[in-house]
Symmetry: D3
Subunit: 224 residues, 6 copies
Amino acid sequence: MKYVIKLTGKLFKRDNAGLIKEVTNIVLNKFREGSSIAVITGGGSVAREYVGLGNELKLTQSSLDTLGIEASRINALLLALALGNNAYLPVPRSIDELLNALGSGKIVVLGGLQPGQSTNAVAAIVAELMKADLLVNATVVDGVYDKDPRIHKDARLLKELSINELEKVITQSYGPGHYELLDPLALLIIKRSRIPLVFVNAFKPETINKALNFDKSVGTWVHS
Amino acid sequence: MKYVIKLTGKLFKRDNAGLIKEVTNIVLNKFREGSSIAVITGGGSVAREYVGLGNELKLTQSSLDTLGIEASRINALLLALALGNNAYLPVPRSIDELLNALGSGKIVVLGGLQPGQSTNAVAAIVAELMKADLLVNATVVDGVYDKDPRIHKDARLLKELSINELEKVITQSYGPGHYELLDPLALLIIKRSRIPLVFVNAFKPETINKALNFDKSVGTWVHS
Amino acid sequence: MKYVIKLTGKLFKRDNAGLIKEVTNIVLNKFREGSSIAVITGGGSVAREYVGLGNELKLTQSSLDTLGIEASRINALLLALALGNNAYLPVPRSIDELLNALGSGKIVVLGGLQPGQSTNAVAAIVAELMKADLLVNATVVDGVYDKDPRIHKDARLLKELSINELEKVITQSYGPGHYELLDPLALLIIKRSRIPLVFVNAFKPETINKALNFDKSVGTWVHS
Amino acid sequence: MKYVIKLTGKLFKRDNAGLIKEVTNIVLNKFREGSSIAVITGGGSVAREYVGLGNELKLTQSSLDTLGIEASRINALLLALALGNNAYLPVPRSIDELLNALGSGKIVVLGGLQPGQSTNAVAAIVAELMKADLLVNATVVDGVYDKDPRIHKDARLLKELSINELEKVITQSYGPGHYELLDPLALLIIKRSRIPLVFVNAFKPETINKALNFDKSVGTWVHS
Amino acid sequence: MKYVIKLTGKLFKRDNAGLIKEVTNIVLNKFREGSSIAVITGGGSVAREYVGLGNELKLTQSSLDTLGIEASRINALLLALALGNNAYLPVPRSIDELLNALGSGKIVVLGGLQPGQSTNAVAAIVAELMKADLLVNATVVDGVYDKDPRIHKDARLLKELSINELEKVITQSYGPGHYELLDPLALLIIKRSRIPLVFVNAFKPETINKALNFDKSVGTWVHS
Amino acid sequence: MKYVIKLTGKLFKRDNAGLIKEVTNIVLNKFREGSSIAVITGGGSVAREYVGLGNELKLTQSSLDTLGIEASRINALLLALALGNNAYLPVPRSIDELLNALGSGKIVVLGGLQPGQSTNAVAAIVAELMKADLLVNATVVDGVYDKDPRIHKDARLLKELSINELEKVITQSYGPGHYELLDPLALLIIKRSRIPLVFVNAFKPETINKALNFDKSVGTWVHS
């Protein structure tokens, strides 16, 4: 099996060392079973700190994105080091390096690649390049809700939906411009290559593990 | 002034040597006046040939994009060589190399950067990184029409429109998925950074020159 | 066994998808049997198109060569992608990258490397670096003829000749400066390292397969 | 004049945007006067966070250093972006890239380079490579004290001392292994090349400015 | 087992081809047994020649170090080529390339990395990155002596000592600034990570072999 | 004016520091007058030493060439460092890096590029890329002789000859395979681009200076 796992950058804090260790073990187990795995890490709080700082210094939007990308790469480096000699190093910084990494037979861990797109888009591109059997998007909540769960107490977790339904949820329920689940580029790629997708909770590593085993009792499953 | 020029890849054919020479002179003149200039070249017929060939070999969509990117880079290399010692070489292949090129004081010429996005998106990202005063998008027609000019004989050239109106024209008049003018990523970046944009005809180099001089008698001007 | 295969760039056209698929399968079969394989692709019609265009733009000879090299690299990329995860990526662009690729245990596919030399010379250098057991040069004709077969109807295919005899055929029968079979650098390297060499027809993939099995019923075999 | 400025990583927080802006202006002013300037940024709180996290994940000391280096590079990237087109990009990651940057005529901003050494050592190496006239080490305190100022209320700021006296202060007053001012490698290089050195307070940017003007009323000046 | 071997650059002379062949075989044997091995080569006489020449041309100390590093890399390249396809190529020139090499499953051979430090320091850093079980430092003498053996005829070979005792021997018996055994950075890293260390004689390859088998009858063993 | 200077590697010895200093000053003077200059350094005695050592270790011819290339690069690095901040660094190792260097406005210094060709061929390629007005080939003798001057006491220095006459002298008077003046690739490039060429004596730096001023009283001038 070939997997791409997107990990929210919010996981990468000192307090979450135990959770990161769990995720590391889940990835290593799957890898040792013979699976091909790529992990894309988000930028998290470090990204937000530097984007905020850059904003006050009046940097362009692309420059701010560049700072966020570097932040996501520290998270990628940490995870790659925690995976020991099983992960490709250094963290790929370009498509050329990514292609080399994907051919290495190692777990590939990377952060962002380019201004103007989220690490979700990177995850979709990597999934397409690998012909991944599943893209596991591990966020800060249990999956996709019919309304924004941070605002609406009665938001209901959706167990399964189509990619077109997901697109509607993203644009309608969360408001335009709120691409926390998937940005337009990620959507476009997932749609054009019909990449199977599931949203789970990175702070409950067991849901990542279950998703990798196609256990549909967790998360939100998205089909094309 | 800082300019980004997007050149359709369809220009890069042996028969168009004269047109390319004209474009080269226009770019060189502006550069010698003290302007900063980046040129992004599309993939054109070579891209189409290899994407078609890759398709028959059942390559993934991202792999096909990678072939198109390399094709666009030959066009970039040709243009850079034609600009003599005034252009940065080698053609940037990553964001790191692009940042180096943009700081070099030379004309920067590049093609695509990443699967999943068009060279229009690259042009928008470069324009944002440079804080460009104008993004000149030189295509195969005179500008943006109210209907697809290849189908409707009565299609009317629009002299000016807002970026939101452009978005509607792209999605409604040309049909969904027809991102020949701008793909979603390009649109997103142009909107978020309010990059001034004009569409002109690459096969009438004089319209590029007029656009660089903000002569609104040519092309379609898009404001944010 | 260690093989280097030189493929004429003329093969890389959309109409030849079936032939390319056949070549891909032949290479994959040999690789899966445990052989080390490097494939060097020529520039073909794209190279000619851009060299012609560059010529009209009055580029230097080395600049024209550079365009041809990039064209040959698109062919290399296409073939590498068609070989799936068995080929080294990205396509090596320098000796340092080539050395890394040769050590990767993967099929190495590359185009040109440097102005002033043909992809035949690259093939000879790679064969020398790998200590290849055979260099298969797959061209547009069945092998080496006693006269130029495009001019002389009675040209006779030579089954076997020495490298010194080949040198004479190249310089005398084809006229000086016509290095379509081997350029001087390729000749020099093949001679100094006594690399076994056979010319076959890339448009008859079975002849490549037979050559890899040292079946002397096809092509022209050259001994040192 | 040629300057190297070492900035403590602790400066790089959102709350310090104003201070960073001041430092940026000081650097730009000196650069526009014709000086050559390199700035080395420390890792600060992001480095500490990730080193702590890596520690809990039982990474080797060199791996922890690698995380700290990446953290220092985000600070370098932020500063380089804030310096606009006057700074070399991308942030140098190796000696080869550093040598290229130093020859670019731009302000060079970098973080760490290698496990086992502090960014103070990097600053010393860069100063040596540039034959810098002054190395300004901007820390969190006003200079070097006769005792650790965080422990001893009566610690006295030293206005001037020799490099040998500094070495004694570092090893005796601060205790062995506390290389907050200079690590052994930095000391070795400063001594062997007699690099003029001054310690000032990064949180009082005016002291950096005064130091660049050789105004000895601020900081601690170290002579060889 | 994981080994790092530091080879004195003085070994790399034409007259020592036989010795180098022996060392090559020892390394290959251990590698084929399943061990991970990195070899760091010193600069030797070529380094001295160019440092001397650079000195007369009044280059900075860091520039001289850069020349010495390149000399050590020729030695690394020679050894890597002699190890055939078992060694990683090209010779790593930066930490990023070193990390890639260490993950390749091949024997990693490198020279220096950075001005201001010896190849002994590089060996210590590599040992730390690899979590090496043993660092074999193969010099021009049989191990560490209680006095400088080149001066004192009655110098006695020490069979075993602690890293702190070694530090004293280096600074007291050989005089300050004579870091021929270990420079301060190497010492610091070996101490902080308690890397097991043995000094043997590179000109007696059998002692390298014995050291790799933890045969304490040869060399000087250093414990933390 | 644009110049390429090929310097014999035999110049780079400690004893020749004074001569190297003279050459450095000549190059700097021309550069400061506004000329574009590239210098290609041969491998000299270090190359010979390592090629000899590699030979005894039974390396392939291409591997031996690789060692020679690295040796020539130390000479290039030394010269570049001696030229101070006027030379491009790091020493280009590929065509991509060479193209970047040639656009930098700095003096470009490099050694070899690829197995199978001499540094004379590199000099010819660089001259072609730069459209050089003159290629100065500084060897160990005063120019080209009608016979091998090391054998024949009555060998006569030729003041001027055509490139075709030179080709005859090389192949007839010095014997086949003795490409000390120019190898076949260098000849081919000089002929196809009609690069003006002069041979002078590197050990008499004044002859280099005179050649750069087109003073035909020194050396052997070759016209196309």
